[in-house]
Structures are given as structure tokens and as C-alpha cells.
């Protein structure tokens, strides 16, 4: 296992949301709301809090993502450690007020090539992967 910086990659997604930052923050940090768009959870916005996201179990994956709150800066920044099936990564969500709403920046970092095994059994992975594959083939990329 290599821990070198070079082999670690980060996923970045940005979103413009036509809602005030305070409202977006609630959706990110109130457990029942979080459950409505991400996973069932026992999250609390307290640094050091260990919690779980619980997806439906599938063969070879118990559906549990072990997490720990790393950063809570109300209405500005939220970060947690995200560990599941050998993937130890960090999710960082940053909110910036923007005209007409909120700019949401998500960075999910810590992906290493040697962590491939963690994808197995994650059902969203299969579906999305196969969907992407189909598009690729239909697009004549091969």
C-alpha cells in the first residue's frame, strides 16, 4: 500500500443551488434531511462525532460507511472521514453565498489505485458503471 501524495486523487463536484446557504446547511447537517438525499445515518454536526451512513446491504457489502466528523463551520464548511470496504477517504463540503442562492463545492479525496476492491458489491457502482459503459458504447467510442 502506497500513501504517496501522487497516487491520491480527488473528486470535485460543484453545484449552484437556488436556495440560501442556511437552508442548504440544514439539508447537509440535519440527520432526517440528510437521510432523504444521501443515506440513513446517525450524524450530528459535532467535531469528533463518529457516525454511520447505512445503505441497503448487497452481496459482499454490508452497506455501512463508517464516518467521523472532522470539520463543522456552520453554514460554511463541513467535512467527514468516509470509510467503507477498504476505501478510507475524506468528504469536504463548502458553501459560499452566491447571487440567488448558494455555491456548493464537494471534494471527495483519498482515492488510490490500490483501493479498487472497495467497489465490489456496491450496487450503485454496478448500475452506474454499466450505464456509463452503455453510453460509451452507444457513442461509438470503441
Amino acid at each position: 500500500m502506497s500513501n504517496s501524495q501522487e497516487s491520491t486523487r480527488t473528486l470535485v463536484i460543484e453545484k449552484s443551488l437556488p436556495h440560501p446557504p442556511e437552508k442548504v446547511w440544514r439539508a447537509l447537517t440535519e440527520s432526517p434531511l440528510l437521510a432523504q438525499w444521501l443515506f440513513n445515518n446517525d450524524f450530528e454536526p459535532v467535531v469528533g462525532r463518529r457516525f454511520q451512513f447505512r445503505a441497503d446491504p448487497v452481496p459482499n457489502w454490508n452497506g455501512i460507511i463508517e464516518c467521523e466528523v472532522l470539520v463543522v463551520e456552520p453554514v460554511r464548511q463541513l467535512s467527514y472521514r468516509w470509510s467503507s470496504m477498504g476505501l478510507d477517504s475524506v468528504v469536504l463540503l463548502t458553501l459560499t453565498p452566491a447571487e440567488g442562492g448558494t455555491h456548493l463545492l464537494m471534494k471527495h479525496s483519498g482515492f488510490r489505485p490500490d483501493q479498487q476492491a472497495a467497489y465490489q458489491g456496491a450496487n450503485y457502482g454496478w448500475q452506474k458503471f454499466l450505464g456509463t459503459l452503455e453510453q460509451l458504447l452507444n457513442g461509438g467510442a470503441l
Partner: protein, 108 residues
């Protein structure tokens, strides 16, 4: 074991019936050709043909048992092609769509 050629893997999974057979094996574990024929709802020769393509891509592994051949999925064959960033990218995009829908539903 030598990994399968990526184009073999792509082609094998481009067909919806083969994809269904492969996913069924992933879900249920080892199955006979007979059981897979029943599942796929097509003729046994057609299933055998699909299994040959999956076998060439090293996505399934056959095991002879008496008169029946049992097949099991080898999802490891996908590993060289699975890109973590793409996978989680699709995951988060899907979840953020749900977040947007939730924000619409929430009180202001």
C-alpha cells in the same frame, strides 16, 4: 491469470442479456446453464453463446459437474476498468440531484 482484453470485457457487457446474466450470477452465486436459461427466458443454445462471450472476457468461470456446467461470476475481471473517480462521480451527481429535489420540498 492473464487479465481479459478490455475490448472483450466492453463487448461482453454491451449486450443487455449478457449483462443481465452476469448480474444474476453476481447476485445469486454459481448457477447451472439450465437455471440461467430459465432466468433469461431464451433458448439454451442462446444462453450458451452468451456465456462463451462472457467466458472469453473472463467475467464468468465454468465448472463441469457431471453433465451440467456451473458458472460463477468473476467481478474481479472488471477491476482494471473500474475507475473510482467515475464511480463516485456518478454516485455524488445522483445524490446531489436528490439534494436539489429535497431543497425544493423544504420550507424556506
Amino acid at each position: 491469470m492473464k487479465p481479459a482484453r478490455p475490448d472483450h470485457v466492453f463487448r461482453a457487457l454491451a449486450d443487455p442479456t449478457r449483462r443481465a446474466i452476469f448480474e444474476e450470477l453476481t447476485r445469486q452465486g454459481e448457477q447451472t446453464v439450465h437455471a440461467l436459461t430459465h432466468y433469461a427466458g431464451i433458448s439454451q443454445p442462446a444462453v450458451s453463446k452468451h456465456l462463451t462471450v462472457l467466458k472469453r472476457a473472463k467475467l464468468v468461470h465454468p465448472r463441469r459437474l457431471g453433465r451440467e456446467t456451473h458458472y460463477r461470476a468473476q467481478p474481479d475481471a472488471l477491476a482494471p476498468m473500474v475507475d473510482w473517480l467515475n464511480l463516485y462521480g456518478a454516485f455524488w451527481r445522483d445524490r446531489f440531484d436528490r439534494l436539489e429535489a429535497l431543497l425544493e420540498r423544504m420550507e424556506p
